[in-house]
């Protein structure tokens, strides 16, 4: 039985001394992608820093997107590189991603120091993987010659083993949400509909790609999905045509876009649950 799970990451190149007249990068950064929140999406590259006792997060990242954490201790004194950092210690669920940013392993209740902006000492990154909270669970091997690092851990943390079939929003829907936040409502509707087209094609179309206009009247939708889902698909199809072709000249409002994103998520979740089957 497999008990170890591994992921490989390229070391990120960097030119440290920009004043030196050399054309070759002179250093590498060991970084692993972390997923702090799936909706709204928050994925970033985290620095592997064993000298830090705890994982550290920049307060700007905390405020950028609100994700769930609970404060464990106020005013923790942290010593890193000879600097004394006073910060709050919180606990959160930390997901490490693979190199393509898909969830790989998940650690529950990870202690993380929330460091105020003016005391942040790490360059270029806003999240740091420290020893006690995270790195002690991992075996990390560096292959400098081939410019990569490999991380391994017990498969009990593996998202694929534990709850791989947990619903993960497709990137199209994530981008639709980004566009919605940027008030590009028509683009958001078109993007959400594209994500739905893709998923319906995978689930019902035997991977043959069909457009939204096909799915609006498709017999396979009527046969395989409940009537309320069929109604939602038709409504998304209408709004998508409005957003892309301006068929009746009606403007796509914030409410329309919000509804399309919400309905798309409901349908995708339904398709996922249908495909996963009952949990045993």
């Amino acid at each position: 039985m497999k008990t170890i799970t591994s992921a490989r990451y390229d070391l990120v190149p960097s030119i440290r001394a920009t004043s030196v007249a050399s054309l070759s990068p002179t250093s590498f950064i060991a970084a692993i992608p972390v997923i702090l929140s799936e909706s709204p999406p928050l994925t970033t590259l985290a620095l592997v820093e064993p000298t830090s006792p705890f994982c550290c997060i920049h307060e700007a990242l905390v405020s950028r997107i609100q994700f769930r954490y609970s404060v464990l201790k106020r005013e923790l004194l942290l010593k890193i590189y000879g600097h004394e950092l006073r910060c709050d210690l919180a606990s959160l669920e930390l997901t490490l991603a693979d190199k393509d940013f898909f969830p790989w392993v998940r650690f529950p209740n990870v202690p993380v120091a929330i460091v105020p902006a003016k005391r942040w000492i790490f360059e270029s990154v806003q999240f740091v993987l420290g020893y006690e909270s995270c790195l002690q669970h991992l075996k990390i091997t560096f292959a400098f010659r081939h410019r990569y690092l490999r991380a391994s851990t017990s498969s009990k943390f593996d998202v694929a083993q534990k709850d791989a079939r947990e619903f993960v929003e497709p990137s199209g829907l994530i981008e639709a949400e980004e566009l919605f936040r940027g008030q590009a409502f028509e683009s958001a509707v078109a993007m959400a509909a594209a994500a739905l087209e893709e998923r319906l094609s995978q689930a019902l179309g035997k991977n043959r790609f069909e457009s939204m206009s096909y799915w609006v009247g498709a017999a396979s939708v009527r046969k395989n999905l409940p009537p309320n889902i069929g109604r939602k698909i038709r409504r998304i199809g209408e709004l998508r045509n409005e957003a892309v072709h301006h068929s009746s000249g009606k403007r796509i409002s914030r409410v329309d876009a919000q509804r399309v994103i919400r309905d798309t998520r409901d349908i995708l979740r339904h398709l996922w649950l249908q495909q996963r089957g009952p949990v045993t």
Partner: protein, 171 residues
């Protein structure tokens, strides 16, 4: 929009690309560039802004010193009422402004997943037209993955800096 202040010795790089297919590339490039002393502007910074995205994108671009375009196999979203994507509009603005431009395209042997490929026939046509235009008007570099893109961009920027220094020395 509040104007960002820029220290005189800081080079701001505008990173232009689609998001859906190149999100991991953007994170890697941002880390590589920032740790090499560049300040990076790009769409990650736009979400908290109240202005519409295009206006915000172009305002950030206008404050940047160097344009880097990373073009994959996806045309990307378009602002309302426009057939041109954000990436294309950013490229055109950078060209208008005469900024130093570095453009990177996915190599023929790059691994691309089905979700990263443009499927809309009209957008695909526009993407191919954009690539043809870029090939005709620029010296391009090609990348297979995020790390290779980072290497190539850092090398291109270093060459650009050396060239600037040589020009400054001859004056």
């Amino acid at each position: 929009m509040a104007k960002k202040t820029k220290p005189s010795n800081e080079t701001i790089v505008f990173l232009s690309s689609t998001f859906r297919d190149l999100a991991p590339h953007r994170e890697t490039l941002k880390l590589a560039l920032e740790s090499s002393g560049y300040r990076v502007f790009g769409m990650e910074l736009f979400t908290a802004n109240v202005n519409p995205p295009l206006e915000t994108c172009l305002a950030e671009l206008d404050q940047s010193d160097i344009y880097i375009g990373v073009i994959g196999e996806y045309y990307g979203s378009c602002p309302p009422g426009s057939k041109k994507s954000y990436t294309r509009l950013e490229y055109e603005r950078a060209r208008e402004r005469g900024m130093p431009m570095f453009i990177f395209l996915t190599a023929d042997d790059a691994q691309v997943t089905p979700a990263q490929i443009e499927r809309d026939a009209k957008k695909l046509k526009r993407l191919n037209a954009l690539k043809a235009h870029l090939k005709k008007n620029h010296t391009l570099a090609f990348f297979k993955d995020a790390n290779e893109a980072a290497w190539q961009i850092l090398a291109a920027l270093r060459k650009h800096e050396l060239k600037l220094r040589e020009i400054a020395a001859t004056k």
